[in-house]
């Protein structure tokens, strides 16, 4: 912050401005450089290259020429791609049925418990600390279709017919979703729990004064407060379901007969099994477009909005404000 008083400097000259701009900013940019280079190498360049690859004719992993939308046309005509697309919606459907409500209910119950609370919290979170690969292999042994294996013996003991589990095309996706939920629900429960603990207690008091029963309190106070969290986690869940990969890779390799193949797994199989980088890139780009659109929706929704709370809740809120 020294004043230049020796020579009169033309502060409006372009070179002066450029010099000042450089002097003030070069060190910051230098510090950013290593991080930016890593992002370039690991994220941006591969992504851009992938888009180029998707419009290229490929030999092995190398692009040998531009071919417009041929890769996309090829992918769209591949019955496996249609299967993967349909499966993705099946994954989403089952993950909503199995994986969406469980964490909300557990979060609610956990926030009401006064006994052994940390035991419950740690116990429910525990599966999340086990690495995905170990979880997936463990569950594929639990789902062993052998009639002598543990779950089938349990079914037999209960007088139920034995199941083929993952080899049954109708069961394979729901069972994969069970595995994902088993591992992932704990983290989501903790997110709901912290949202629930942020609710101002005086609003429950106001509701109680008003004679609201337990269910009415949940409906008019609890739910409006966690609605934005629910909506955010819902979209995040759908985004993450689009990225299902390890589970079908390890548990079923996408089978039986493509019944559990996901878009990401298909992209991987195009690349590393049929060595068709163009088709793999095209699938990746399609998936990226879907994920980006969903992310935009997510960002829109995660902005705090007014007028989303129930009228009754506003009444309680007003009461506590007075």
């Amino acid at each position: 912050m020294k004043k230049a008083n020796a020579l009169p400097v033309d502060r409006s000259s372009l070179t002066y401005k450029a010099k000042r701009l450089f002097k003030r900013n070069w060190s910051g940019w230098l510090l950013m450089l290593p991080g930016l280079l890593l992002f370039l190498f690991f994220v941006w360049a591969p992504l851009a290259e992938n888009v180029l690859l998707s419009f290229s004719e490929t030999k092995g992993f190398e692009a040998v020429g531009f071919n417009h939308f041929a890769n996309y046309a090829q992918v769209f005509h591949d019955p496996m791609f249609t299967k993967a697309l349909v499966n993705t919606f099946k994954y989403i459907f089952w993950s909503i049925i199995i994986g969406f409500l469980v964490p909300i209910v557990l979060g609610l119950l956990l926030s009401e418990a006064v006994h052994c609370k940390s035991f419950f919290r740690l116990g429910i979170y525990f599966p999340s600390i086990v690495s995905g690969m170990a979880v997936v292999i463990m569950w594929s042994y639990l789902f062993d279709p052998n009639p002598g294996a543990v779950l089938n013996q349990l079914l037999t003991a209960l007088g139920l017919p034995v199941s083929k589990f993952l080899s049954d095309p109708d069961l394979t996706i729901p069972l994969i979703v069970v595995t994902m939920t088993w591992r992932g629900a704990g983290g989501t429960v903790l997110v709901y729990l912290s949202a629930l603990q942020n609710i101002d207690n005086s609003q429950y008091e106001a509701a109680r004064m008003d004679g609201a029963g337990a269910l009415a309190r949940i409906w008019h106070v609890t739910l409006p407060h966690i609605r934005s969290t629910i909506r955010m986690l819902f979209i995040l869940q759908i985004i993450s379901v689009f990225q299902v990969f390890y589970e079908p890779l390890v548990m079923t390799s996408g089978g039986p007969d493509g019944a559990s193949v996901s878009l990401l797994l298909l992209s991987y199989q195009y690349a590393f099994q049929s060595f068709d980088a163009g088709a793999s890139a095209a699938t990746g780009v399609i998936l990226a477009v879907i994920i980006i659109s969903l992310t935009i929706v997510y960002l829109r929704l995660s902005r705090p909005k007014k007028n989303t709370v129930s009228r009754k809740w506003r009444k309680y809120a007003k009461k506590t404000a007075q």
């Binding site: 950013m32 991080g35 992002f39 190498f41 992504l47 009401e112 086990v130 903790l190 980088a277």
Partner: protein
């Protein structure tokens, strides 16, 4: 049980409700459901621990025995020695340590510039980082793999370390934390003509222990479990990490002499034990940071 319910004054149900016997039944149901949830979470892991001590034939024997005939801890040692598993553990530790260092230094430095130094035009770069937040790295695995080949980094840990230095989620976490540090501190550092890099290592890092801990734990678990890139990059058996080795063994099941499903289960047990230790040591930080929004892996 009664006394603690009587002192419950917050939440949906309070002491006033628990005066009525009906709500006490509701409360028992709440505890019961939570207990069942914990059982569901723990039983598969316990099953794995118990079953990994079984002989190969015992896994599917009729009638089913939950417990193995003999509980021989020697089997753990046998499997460990048979595969010379020390090597894979050591490799994994090398990967994890390098990944944690890269993750803290590079993401931290980038976030420090975004949050505090703010040179002209940094917003463009921040926008680019944010834009890559939601796109899974797996999507462009082919070009990345090709880059790694071109740089001659196959069978090297370098890409596995540096990959963790480019994580938008960690950058955002660091940035939010740095923005909460007192501004006067950085003004004072500037007055003292303390260089920006020195400020980062001397002032920012020592003041950011909590967030560094969170990012380090996240990176540790992620690097420990990471699979696809290590699988593609590490072809040499002596370089493999635990997860890559386990995946290889399960994919080639039956081709390795004397390696059956029972031994694979034992390996899974071995791979889970360190994670349980880490969880036991850092449980508060781990559950705390998970609640803060660790929705993304």
């Amino acid at each position: 049980m009664q006394r603690r319910l009587r002192s419950k004054t917050s939440g949906i149900l309070t002491a006033a409700d628990y005066k009525k016997p009906g709500f006490r039944i509701v409360y028992s149901i709440i505890l019961l459901v939570l207990f069942v949830a914990v059982l569901t979470a723990l039983i598969p892991i316990l099953w794995l621990f118990i079953s990994s001590f079984k002989e190969a034939g015992e896994l599917t024997a009729t009638p089913y025995h939950l417990f193995p005939k003999v509980f021989d801890i020697g089997k753990l040692v046998e499997v460990w020695n048979m595969l010379n598993f020390w090597r894979y553990f050591l490799n994994t530790i090398i990967v994890v340590v390098g990944a944690v260092l890269c993750s803290v230094v590079f993401n931290g430095l980038l976030a420090y510039v975004f949050a505090i130094v703010k040179p002209k035009g940094y917003k463009i770069m921040f926008g680019l980082v944010m834009a890559s937040y939601m796109i899974p790295a797996l999507l462009s695995i082919v070009p990345l793999y090709r880059e790694i080949i071109n740089f001659g980094l196959i069978n090297s840990y370098v890409p596995l370390w540096f990959m963790f230095g480019a994580n938008a989620y960690y950058v955002i976490m660091f940035k939010n934390y740095f923005e909460s540090l007192p501004k006067a501190l950085f003004e004072a550092a500037e007055m003292d003509r303390c260089g920006k890099l020195r400020t980062f290592f001397r002032i920012v890092i020592p003041m950011s222990r909590p967030i560094i801990g969170v990012v380090a734990i996240f990176t540790m678990t992620a690097a420990w479990s990471d699979f696809l890139l290590p699988y593609l990059v590490l072809n040499d058996d002596s370089m493999m990490t635990v997860m890559v080795k386990i995946y290889n063994l399960q994919a080639t099941m039956g081709t390795v002499q004397g390696f059956g499903p029972d031994k694979l289960l034992m390996l899974l047990t071995i791979s889970i034990i360190p994670q349980i230790f880490i969880f036991a040591l850092f449980q508060r930080q781990i559950t705390g940071s998970a609640a803060a929004g660790a929705v993304k892996e």
